[in-house]
Symmetry: C2
Subunit: 121 residues, 2 copies
């Protein structure tokens, strides 16, 4: 698959509200998943498929998702970007809020070797 094909498939899956399958399908075993920051004590860098999946499961469990919009993909060489807009409630606080972010994926040999998240400011 080309980078564009992977990007389009990832976006199509995310648009169904399924944010777990793209990782299972496209993460490299040694994928590196990087947040801009994180709560004290939480490493912003997750290394390996199991760590990235655990982060996703934690996030899904900690938030109630009311609606999502997925924009893209946008491709450049071996990288592609996707925009996510989410309407969520943080379960721990009950706070309903919107979340805007861009994910930048780097592909090597048909697998995502890095995902880097950018937060709206």
């Amino acid at each position: 698959m080309t980078v564009t094909e992977i990007a389009q498939d990832l976006v199509a899956i995310c648009k169904t509200g399924d944010f777990a399958t793209p990782g299972e399908k496209y993460w490299a075993d040694d994928v590196v998943s990087i947040e801009p920051g994180g709560p004290p004590g939480m490493d912003p860098v997750s290394r390996g498929k199991a760590a990235a999946a655990a982060k996703g499961e934690w996030w899904a469990g900690a938030h109630e998702i009311h609606g999502t919009q997925v924009h893209g993909p946008f491709v450049h060489g071996d990288q592609f970007a996707v925009g996510f807009h989410m309407d969520i409630t943080v379960k721990a606080t009950g706070a309903r809020q919107t979340m805007d972010e861009v994910a930048l994926y780097t592909v090597k040999d048909g697998k995502i070797v890095e995902e880097r998240f950018f937060y709206g400011v």
Copy 2:
């Protein structure tokens, strides 16, 4: 200025429809501006402030802009992403079309040292 401050200022200026001033204000002298591809014979990589400005001037001259939407910024460390949606007419062909792209900027010492464009596919 922090990366977030530069990002917010760049977006605020672009939202006024002015796409030239952010470069003049924030490009490093040796900025590298990278398109995903380009017409045959056109180098997708522009090196230096003069080359990046010339590309911008060529683009502005070759297109009529009917409307723009600017999304972001989205920040991660020394990088930030901005989404652009443009309603344009290509002057050479008269074709009216929309254009979606994401720009990824890398900042060093308060200046943009690289801008990398991702096209919607």
